[in-house]
Chain length 383, copies 2
């Protein structure tokens, strides 16, 4: 169902995973740009930086010393957005009907971690071999397992895992059960990242955050309305046949620009088989995931021959969830990159987008075609 | 119901206008910032710039010449995101169940305008006197009226308006009825604005965009559940009594940092009486609105002594709507400004925020207190 007319007319597309719309204006890509230009990223970082608080053996902001780690290294964020323990909060329910109805707050506790991707200060995901990314996926999986509610239906899969334990004695099971674990990476200064040493974050909270909550609703709904089939399994299947939005795929994963992408070169990596969470993958599938991650991040860097900024994150089953929620969950990764036309011209999701509706210029099909075309070796290696 | 404990603990607050949550981490404001710094805006613009495509008498991108306008000037955006006329789109409903179910698009037509706020290249809203802002409000009102569906219950109010007509013969009623008009301003290069001549935009579409749709649902629901009372009328009333989030108020408008604000210094201007749309205001109320806009934008600039970037926009009744939708609508203005700690350090809504949930550091109460404290003359005038 290729519809070339959508390359010419303004239209909206429905994001089935969120139940929300995005405005697409393909012709608008032609407008001249006189606004803000990003500075292209410097690509000449040393392998070790004595000033970096993420390099092995270095001191962090609050004085703790990093070990001489060899693969990944995880520590509790020195400036966590949520903490394990804090004063208890009981909303003051005065006899004031209006305030009680209109001003609603609830406490959130949790734990925030930082994970370095490797000891090397200059190795981004795009620079790595799939085999070097597997330890990152294993560390994510170990952390996820460590935070799983002992009663979770996912425990069986977690117990059957054949990956090496984390090997960091300082990391222990949290005191309280948490509801959700958000694993993500902010890459590049444009995305609020303040240290170029490749690293990700993990925020774990007592609440189910907005985005996974919205997606979970949609996933449950689709399953109910379609005899138990899974939205994202069906979607990956369809896209893998349609091909025009596919950027890369292997046996286990489809990776491409979603039909409803908001950001110009947005990508979703979706497991082809129904997988509820990281713990559902075997060795081979983790290797396939590592391959998909490299194929995407390398193409990103190749596209404008720059360190391509993005925020990326994993969505999967909540830590503490009902059987229905867990079975409806489906593992996938979102990449949200802001660049539009070059290493220096980005797309802004601002006025209209904040007040009314997300808007994009080039179509997802055009974006996918460009990304498909820039596989192969990393441009930096060829220089 | 002041709750000082919320200045110390991580918590979530419910945005009743959207039905969504925001994570608040007050202690996190203490973390050091080593990331991207914005360049502080230059404040030395000339009153007239021969190169500016928005100054009176100058040529625009596609060669049209601006008149020598004296107050506001409106023209159809040369690179509109939506257009009045385009090829018709009928989704290809093949016998392919999956594609039909998963890939959903609909055509959008509409009209995009640009509105200059005054002939002066260097006069921002913060620099203007309330009396100079009234013509902008009048122009918005005239455009809104021009696009109202002739059958709209708002026509009666529109016909009773006592404001001068637009005085631009080139602007005429659109060919098609439209569903919504989004009036907004992107200010500053950080907000994707590419021309410093103060101007706003107006995008009018056949679809009801996501944000006003979500708000309208919430407004209808509140009205239904609370004997016909209006969420935002009740809210302005409560805030005006509570005072701790109030930044400015006059007889007709409350302006302050919403309890559920996402951006550090986010502001909402809310009509205290129930007003469905711009056409419901009389002369005095338009003057009060102009005053509120100046009081907010001036404080913004004073806060960090810079041209404070923001996106702002009006929410009001849809152009083409049911009686129920129109009566539930309530006029308000959102200001979404990104700066956090200084003219150069902004808040990023990135990884966690995009993948999981919006997050803020300082509390809305702290933000309101700071903004309340920087009223008075514009800092630039004192230099
Ligand atoms: O139309 P402008 O000012 O050139 O463009 C700006 O505002 C638009 C509406 O919010 C955005 O879509 C653009 O990304 C932004 O650069
Ligand atoms: O924790 P970091 O990397 O210092 O901070 C970055 O990521 C966070 C999570 O997305 C954001 O809240 C911050 O605004 C951003 O600067």
């Amino acid at each position: 169902m290729s519809e070339p007319i959508l390359n010419d007319i303004s239209h909206r597309r429905l994001n089935l995973l969120r139940g929300s719309w995005v405005l697409v204006s393909p012709h608008r890509n032609k407008r001249p740009w006189q606004g803000l230009q990003e500075s292209p990223s410097k690509t000449t970082l040393p392998e070790y930086d004595p000033e970096c608080y993420l390099c092995p053996g270095n001191k962090r902001n609050l004085g703790q010393q990093n070990p001489k780690f060899e693969r990944t290294f995880v520590f509790v964020n020195d400036f966590s957005a949520v903490k394990e323990d804090q004063e208890e909060y009981h909303p003051e329910r005065k006899n004031d009907g209006l305030a009680t109805r209109l001003l609603r707050a609830e406490a959130v506790t949790g734990k925030c971690y930082v994970i370095t991707f490797s000891p090397s200060h200059h190795l981004t995901l795009a620079d790595m071999k799939p085999a070097e990314i597997i330890p990152i996926i294993e560390t994510w999986t170990n952390l996820y397992t460590m935070h799983l509610n002992p009663g979770s239906p996912l425990m069986q899969a977690a117990n059957a895992l054949s990956i090496a334990p984390l090997g960091q004695d300082d990391l222990t099971k949290p005191n309280h059960p948490y509801r959700y674990m958000q694993i993500f990476e902010n890459k590049g200064t444009t995305m609020g990242c303040s240290n170029p040493h490749p690293h990700g974050q993990i925020w774990t909270t007592t609440s189910l955050p907005e985005e996974p909550k919205i997606e979970l609703e949609q996933l449950k709904k689709y399953r109910l309305e379609n005899n138990g089939s899974h939205l994202l399994v069906d979607y990956a299947d369809l896209e893998s046949k349609e091909k025009e939005r596919t950027v890369f795929e292997n046996e286990s994963f489809w990776a491409g620009v979603p039909y409803w992408a908001v950001w110009p070169f947005e990508i979703m990596i979706v497991s082809k088989q129904h997988k509820r969470a990281l713990v559902d993958f075997n060795d081979k599938e983790r290797a396939s995931l590592a391959e998909a991650i490299v194929e995407i991040t390398r193409r990103y860097d190749n596209l404008f021959e720059t360190q391509f900024p993005y925020s990326m994150g994993l969505h999967q089953a909540p830590l503490n969830a009902t059987q229905e929620e867990i079975e409806a969950s489906h593992f996938h990764i979102h990449f949200y990159p802001p660049l539009l036309r070059s290493a220096t011209v980005r797309k802004f999701q601002v006025g209209y987008e904040m007040l009314a509706e997300p808007q994009r210029d080039i179509t997802p099909e055009q974006a996918a075609e460009r990304l498909r075309g820039c596989g192969g070796e990393l441009y930096r290696k060829k220089l």
